[in-house]
Amino acid sequence: MPPLPDKGKTPAATASTSNTTPAPHNPIAKVIWDGSIPIQFSWDKAEATAVGSNAVESFFYEAPRCSYFSLLTSHVRKHFVDMALHFIGDDAEIWYDYEGTPLKWHYPIGLLYDIHGLQASAGRGMNGSLLPWKITVHFQNFPADKLIKSQAIDSCQDYFMSMIKEADYLRNGSTKKVMNLSKSDQTQLWDGLWSNNYDKFWGINHKLTTNDNVVARHLPVRIYMPENCPVIQDLVPSVDENNQHRTLRQVLNQSLPDIFPLVETGTPVATAMIHGIIPSLDTSVIWASQNMSYPDNFLHLVVIIK
């Protein structure tokens, strides 16, 4: 970065003038933010064997649930390059799979774990620990038919900001709140996520998620069914026709009435998971959205079939 022309102000002092609001005290959001998953990254056996490096040690990393694989790639690459790998490609060529399923780099890591780890193992009737989560790293043969091929590793930031805007649009009918953030606020939002700094991220994000006592038009919610079903994104009003807060059950019933009846008469066939937790379906969806959304401001509900 070139030096600032105004030598009287340090960059830090300049930044702080636009950012006077600290992150609001929210123990729930903090616990969600601090959630992490221990991951064991192993180099794809075929790739390693092809270059005679089949004894390369795994890389262990405790990844924030709210982070993205793209943000770990430089650490992962460095480990394997230090070990044996000769890699001159772009980091955007590097991809990950779990048990043969390529993992979407534009989904948060915690969501991927809940879908491909917990949801899938519940479907097979297994309940043993999956940790550390065993991920295979590939440096070749990017599966462009299954994963979005990004132009560069920093595409993750563009996708993330787009999700933030999509969430803003659902809440407010426009992306005005995001667009009204200053350039340095937008940078701080991403930097906070990238550097796993809760105060930095929430210092800005609360401006997007607090609605000045105006009820959000719709809440950003996505529902994930097992076995690679299409993701469900319906319009989710936050209150019902009587202006009462809707519950998670009502939201799930709206999209999946057969497996989430409003009144449970027998043994439930399904439940929903957020950040690896099974919340009560009587939880208000406004509360869940405010406290348990991922940093992209979507509430990602992973359906577990019992």
């Binding site: 076995e227 299409p230 469900i232 994104q233 319009l235 009435p257 497996i259």
Partner: protein, 136 residues
């Protein structure tokens, strides 16, 4: 449309296009479908509904004479991208950015029917395209 000055933010009347949208009242006497049936139906969700996409070029991009196209609701947004690239003869390597409602860029794996349901305006899904980032 007579009310030109007032942008409509209501759900478009053409929301009926997606008649299979879950949430429709189920008949009380019918037994609930099993999870397997629900998943099978979900894979077909939107397959019988057409979404009308209205393309709007921004900046120096080729503009189409006819800019309204129908696409099946269960297709991914990537299909919209590929279709438009073909129409205006832009290779995959030619830079092109897509937006919905001049507001945000959906990921290529988002479902067209869901985008229409959530962001449709006056019965169409408005997709803007530009050679360089146009909004934020």
């Amino acid at each position: 449309m007579s009310n030109v000055g007032t942008p409509s933010t209501e759900s478009p009347p053409a929301a009926n296009l997606l008649q299979e949208t879950p949430g429709a009242t189920t008949i009380d006497s019918a037994a609930p479908a099993s999870p397997a049936t629900v998943m099978a139906n979900l894979r077909r969700r939107g397959a019988n509904a057409k979404v009308v996409v209205r393309f709007k070029g921004v900046g120096g991009v080729p503009v189409m004479k006819n800019n309204l196209f129908k696409i099946t609701g269960n297709r991914k947004f990537s299909a919209v991208i590929q279709f438009l690239r073909k129409e205006i003869n832009y290779k995959n390597s030619d830079p092109l950015v897509f937006y919905v409602n001049s507001a945000f860029s959906p990921a290529p794996d988002e479902i067209v029917g869901d985008l229409f349901q959530c962001f449709g305006t006056d019965g169409t899904l408005i997709v803007n395209y530009s050679v360089e980032p146009a909004w934020g």
